[in-house]
Symmetry: none
Subunit: 211 residues, 4 copies
DNA sequence: CATGAATGAGAATTCATTCAT
DNA sequence: CATGAATGAATTCTCATTCAT
């Protein structure tokens, strides 16, 4: 996590250089695991598979990780954190509720589509994580949903969103749409991740907005 | 299949009454497995778990089934078949493309929400099925998507749907929204499955339709 | 074993007629099992297979037998007993050793070929029997071999069999030849079981006899 | 296959020394399995038994093999291949048919007796192999038999073998005799494997040859 | 007599993980 | 750093056998 060496233990046997080399290789392990989990599923990918792809034996990857689940967790966690970062930014902005909503839809769609592997694992394999880790994810998701729900309600009060729509259902609809991108988006397709975001926004806001 | 007993070999045939009793218990096994797969995931549910829930030993459920995967397949297949049946009906109807779309959205949403366990397994555990079985499901999904795509295009030509929208993205958006119902719908919630369908329709068609 | 009812228990609930019917069906079970063991091997034939062939469920055959191994044992035992009966007859006869040998070779070859199923099981599946039952078979085999060995030695002393041959090896050779018949003999082949016996005799005695 | 290490990916390749060590242990596994299959039969020997004999847990032997059946197959296959090698040599030689026959009988008898464990499994446990593997063995056996049949017929035409004998039955008799060696030969007996071969030859050719 | 429903004791196989070298 | 060798716990599935109905 931290980029700085720990000066508290000066006589540590692991040199800075070694640590850097190891962490570079660790990145490779994560990348490879992510790709394989994405392609074959977490359960169906064995540590042996991952090792083979890296030119290692299965036991050897334990020099870089401490458990198979940690691999999945770290992949998912990174996606999760990115998600959190733009969410906080939008939340803190002083735009109108409708504009925040617009911003979240475009950003989250683009983010999902841009990080296909990770988003896919985030949405499909979170069940393979331990109970606490699942809880953390669920809680964060709930925050997002709650925010969107609030924005819609505010916009309804402000008269910019149709008041005959159920805000809860609208919230679910939005996330269903936005989060589905990992299922079909392909980077070599005719549209960019950002274009999808804009189009989704157009669609859903078209349905929401007062005419 | 046949309603008549075969009196020639009295011992060889399982009686009608027995068949009914056994098939009732088989149904229980399916139901229990479905619920447990839904709650804990297919991979995390062992045959021993299923047996225990039914008051059976792990080996005993093989009196009713022939393999764990068959259990999942049968659950998913039933959902799949129901899906197919209303899809064919809509496809064959002589409504306008927009009305067919409306019909599919409301029906599929309601269907997903009504059959929570099955739909959930259908969308999340299909990867645990054998390759051929996965193919069958994927192919059927593709048919649905293609039909919706066609309807949207026709409606655009007819001028009832905004022509500035990408029909492909709209299709994906619709299915993302509709198929997400299994993730949050709860039968004891404030809205019925049918109401959700109608609301979804309102939303998405509001975004699609020419103003 | 015995053909007579047991008068000691006059009030027995099982009538004579019932016992007869049961024993006829028992015979069918044995016959079917023998054929199936022969075709697929003892281990590979399940009680369910046997039941199905008879139009019964697997549990039902336990009305006629007490264990799967008993089926095999009884089949093998019958062959074994037949073997013993002609062996004792030859042993007790007052023919010359060479004639006894001739008689045993022809009879045993013909017997093996005539009772293909049973002889096959006797030679290939005896290992599936319990230790004691295996012992009984081995002991009887040893008696046969010892007798043949004696006859050859006597014949050598009498000058009718070449004295330069090792009588033990000759004994093994004879049984190897004779007992191999179950592997290739087919009742619908060009030669009868008896003809094979005579031909085998011709061959092996041609090699043994003093010229 | 290649004797040169691949220096480009040092970690990926198993070193030559390691390969040798592992393969030595693999040989031990095979040897142990062969002995146990021989003693108790293939079906009655569990992977747990084999492991225990080697000081391993049942799962651990899968480090060396991929399936229990493969163990049996490899044992049997080695015997099979040796068989094939001397058979081809004799087949290609330009000896007289009778001499080829003599050669095959002595060699095959000695081979059977020398490789007691393997030959025994080859003749008694081939049924436990998969259908294709069984086919390969049956086909090869048929080739041997056909060659012997041809040699006998030729020898009959050449007048060196009695023409009144049925060549097919003689062929079966020869193989019955020769292949029986595994049933009774013991390496610590009074006669060597080669002596048995010669004696068998004496016997059977004595019966075949024109006087 | 035969069935239906279960038992229970394995058996083969898989795989994440450990650790001395 | 990486390997080789093993562990151990779980998991699916099989099958002979039992017994109340």
């Amino acid at each position: 996590m931290t980029e700085h060496a720990e000066p508290a233990t000066p006589g540590a046997t692991t040199s800075n250089r070694t640590r850097k080399r190891r962490s570079a290789r660790r990145e490779q392990v994560l990348e490879t695991a992510a790709r394989m989990f994405f392609e074959k599923g977490y359960a169906a990918t064995t540590t042996e598979d991952i090792g083979a792809e890296l030119g290692l034996l299965k036991g050897s990857i334990y020099y870089y990780i401490s458990a198979k689940e940690d691999l999945l967790f770290e992949i998912v966690e990174r996606y999760h954190e990115d998600t959190r970062s733009y969410f906080e930014r939008i939340l803190a902005s002083d735009e109108s509720p409708l504009d925040k909503l617009r911003e979240l839809i475009t950003t989250e769609t683009a983010h999902t589509a841009t990080n296909l592997t990770r988003s896919s694992l985030f949405y499909t394999e979170w069940r393979s994580l331990s109970a606490e880790r699942q809880q953390a994810i669920i809680a964060e998701r709930a925050r997002h949903e709650h925010a969107v729900l609030d924005w819609i309600r505010e916009a309804q009060r402000a008269g910019t969103v149709r008041s005959d729509l159920d805000p809860k259902i609208a919230t679910y609809a939005i996330f269903g749409m936005v989060n589905s991108a990992y299922r079909w988006f392909r980077p070599d397709g005719p549209r960019s991740a950002e274009e999808i975001g804009v189009e989704f926004c157009e669609l859903v806001l078209g349905g929401l907005e007062t005419r």
